[in-house]
Symmetry: C2
Subunit: 107 residues, 2 copies
């Protein structure tokens, strides 16, 4: 029955960042503004549909900012918000932890 509603900030944050794309997209946005098509080229394996969905999710969470420009063909830019920039080092820390863990666990 889906249970849902976590109320736990950790769970909410992990759900937001879970999956293959969110962290990747944040990283591609790290160095500045990107257009929808740029992100599509940067992530050749994400589908057009999923890219749109993930971006909307991140936008809704206040992690990325979406700016649409009038005109035709249309032109939309995505950029990290302050919150988005603040989370990058935290994700890096997780990555560093894993490198360390993986090394000592030994494969």
């Amino acid at each position: 029955m889906k249970t849902t509603v976590s109320e736990c900030p950790i769970e909410e944050a992990m759900v937001l960042l879970s999956g293959r794309w969110p962290t990747l997209l944040l990283y591609y946005l790290k160095n500045g503004t990107k257009r929808f098509g740029d992100l599509q080229r940067d992530n050749p394996t994400i589908s057009h549909r999923m890219l749109a969905l993930e971006l909307r999710k991140l936008e809704g969470a206040g992690v990325v900012k979406r700016t649409a420009f009038a005109g035709y063909p249309s032109h939309v830019e995505y950029t990290l918000t302050a919150a988005g920039q603040r989370v990058l080092p935290l994700i890096d820390a997780i990555g560093a932890w894993w490198i360390d863990t993986r090394a000592s666990t030994e494969a």
Copy 2:
């Protein structure tokens, strides 16, 4: 076609910790050893099957340690490894970030 194989430590770590249960389980193990049945009671909404799968995943990643005791009925204990303990503060940081972000994004 699933694409798969990340090679990126961040992606690997996020995949490991993604979803509803991994972080929750780590937290229930925070204060010491727990038996399978304990974790089941702590997480009434996780299915028997998923609990077993998630624990095996975490065990395989070297984040939790599994200890089986001989005898019948069987008796198994789970505890955090050093790596598991090291990741908790990082997850906390993500949680704190989200509390902050959620507050300023305003709902």
